[in-house]
């Protein structure tokens, strides 16, 4: 996907731009109705009051205050909100690091070590096929492996390495991270592979002719030139993990908190203004992370 809208042929005939707008109108309307207005409503409702039955229009900071209640007091540890953010950020960081290392390695192998382009396509498609099956199915497929009587425990016990089944394999931080890596490494591989394929191969030859070692070439040539892919992949993985409640719910045995889960629970109790205030805070955090990442690269130019 390499294009910029500016480089597309512009209309030669005057009046075309009006026709273009009619063509883009339904598309634009969908995003206005189901993206922009809902976002604006979240911000608006986050300042509303509510009781058990209904939303009460108004302007109050109550929701934000109650979210951060007790956070100013550092003496008895972190408050619930900060703890939840800490745990969510921890998962994001761990998953980001692991998917980045695996994604980069796999993309590097595919882009630079597989020689025939037919084989390259075949192996690439092989990596993307699991993406097309249901996420919940891919999550629960770990149960027969990691469960108390699962394959891993059976094997370890059969080899007499452990006496009793290992309990922390399933419904734990471990299984949550594992499931995230299993589900979303694809989001790293595809953009990194895409930017690696666009690297001019003669640059690598030049590096090795100038006497660079394999590692030097990797670090000084390939990593900087795949930066765009790395950033795009990172944005995907981090925003998905930050907002997730399904994976953490299913793989954490409904025991681990996350911001997404808090929002979901508050919605189910019809505490929309509270959920909206949480969503606004989450949005601010995610935007700050993305802003930090995009300082490193101009995505608009690269897509």
């Amino acid at each position: 996907m390499s294009t910029t809208t500016q480089s597309l042929p512009a209309a030669a005939v005057p009046g075309r731009s009006i026709a273009a707008w009619w063509q883009a109108a339904p598309f634009t309307l969908v995003f206005a109705l189901f993206f922009l207005i809902p976002l604006a409503l979240i911000v608006m409702v986050s300042f509303w009051d509510f009781n058990e039955y209904e939303l009460l229009p108004g302007f109050t900071f109550k929701n934000y205050i109650s979210i951060f209640a007790g956070c100013g007091d550092a003496s008895d540890g972190l408050c619930v909100t900060l703890k939840t953010y800490y745990s969510t950020l921890k998962f994001s960081f761990l998953v980001w690091l692991i998917t980045l290392v695996i994604g980069f390695t796999v993309a590097y192998f595919l882009a630079f070590h597989v020689r025939s382009s037919g084989m390259q396509t075949l192996l690439f498609v092989l990596c993307t096929i699991p993406f097309w099956t249901s996420n919940v199915i891919r999550m629960i497929s770990w149960v027969p492996l990691l469960g108390r009587n699962g394959l891993v425990n059976q094997t370890l016990m059969g080899m007499n390495l452990i006496e009793t089944p290992v309990e922390w394999l399933l419904f734990s931080d471990f299984s949550v991270v594992l499931a995230f890596v299993h589900l979303y490494t694809m989001f790293m591989i595809v953009p990194i592979f895409n930017s690696m394929m666009r690297i001019d191969r003669s640059l690598i030859e030049a590096a090795s002719d100038s006497g660079a070692s394999g590692w030097q070439t990797l670090w000084n040539v390939i990593v900087p030139l795949s930066r765009t892919g790395i950033i795009i992949g990172s944005i995907f993985v981090i925003t998905i993990v930050m907002g997730d409640f399904v994976t953490i719910g299913v793989m954490g045995g409904q025991q681990i908190a996350s911001i997404g889960k808090i929002i979901q629970v508050q919605t189910s109790y019809l505490q929309f203004p509270l959920a909206a205030a949480n969503a606004v805070i989450l949005l601010a955090v995610v935007l700050m992370i993305i802003w930090g990442l995009t300082r490193l690269v101009d995505i608009r130019k690269e897509l």
Binding site: T3, S17, V30, F35, V106, S134, R138, G150, L303
Partner: protein
């Protein structure tokens, strides 16, 4: 031609890492496909106790209070609707972006923002929007004094209103990016030729552009359907009273403790692959037809 060089020393370790990765991707899935064919005595883990279609039969009878069949049809219906909307709207927007489009940059920015927005936020926003619309409609009905209509009114949240919109915020960005990739490689000379020969814009589109981009359009349709078919996070707050199959499935993970749930997993995966298979066959057929033509 270059002489075939020997493999660099890093090839084999990397090849092993890649194989392990593929095993990691596919291994667990194959485990549940196998376990879904357990005999009636089988449980959630190995060893296999017999081989049968017992758990598929159980699935057909229904799991607890959940009507799997109805959820499956709802998801299929929604998937088809999302697919059609994604194809039509993406192609139209793709055509629009080829011309000078005032505000095109802003629109593109919004589309990318929608793609990377945490799904729970989009979902919550759409849920809120439709609840506020509900309040508005109820207030209007009350004001108009239409008591009977007011009592019969449920909610505007639904499969083909809020859920459809929620899915489109996820599928349309993919559709537009694919259209960009398509038109980036598109040679406008064919269109100009058609225009020079006196075709109307519609004829030029229907007889020249559309056949050339047809395989990609089919691909966009596949993206639309499969992304919708598996979607949970954006649907969760925007669905109303009934659930789609993935949402039911998510609920079942904590209540169902028989291999029926693996059977359901196998079944939904089969649907995904059938859709992919049909799509690839169509793309292949369209590509062949395109090649067979002169010019």
């Amino acid at each position: 031609m270059k002489v075939r060089e020997s493999r660099p020393a890093s090839f084999w370790p990397l090849a092993i890492v890649f194989s392990l990765f593929v095993l990691f991707m596919y291994g667990p899935m194959f485990v549940i496909f196998i376990l879904s064919f357990q005999g009636p005595e089988g449980g959630l883990t190995f060893p296999m106790r017999g081989v049968s279609l017992h758990w598929f039969a159980k699935l057909a009878e229904g799991l607890g209070v959940v009507d799997i069949g109805a959820a499956l049809w709802r998801s299929l219906g929604l998937g088809v609707a999302v697919m059609l909307c994604t194809v039509v709207l993406s192609v139209l927007a793709g055509l629009a972006f080829r011309k000078r489009l005032a505000g095109g940059n802003t629109l593109f920015f919004i589309v990318v923002a929608s793609l990377i927005m945490p799904s729970i936020i989009v979902s919550l926003g759409i849920g809120l929007e439709f609840r506020l619309i509900d309040n508005g409609i109820k207030a209007a009905l009350e004001w108009l004094g239409m008591e009977s209509a007011l009592e019969g009114y449920g909610t505007s949240l639904g499969l083909f209103t809020s859920a459809l919109g929620a899915h489109l915020t996820w599928t349309l960005p993919f559709g537009l990016l694919i259209m960009f990739a398509v038109f980036n490689r598109f040679n406008p000379a064919y269109e100009e030729a058609a225009r020079d020969l006196g075709s109307t814009p519609w004829q030029g589109f229907a007889h020249v552009v559309l056949p050339l981009i047809a395989p990609s359009v089919v691909g966009i349709g596949m993206f639309g359907f499969t992304l919708s078919w598996d979607e949970i996070a954006r649907t969760s707050q925007a669905i109303g009273d009934v659930n789609t199959l993935p949402l039911e499935l998510q609920g079942l993970t904590s209540t169902v403790t028989t291999p029926s749930i693996y059977a359901l997993g196998t079944l939904t995966t089969v649907v995904s692959f059938v859709v992919m298979g049909i799509t690839l066959a169509l793309v292949w057929a369209l590509g062949r037809r395109g090649q067979g033509r002169p010019g």
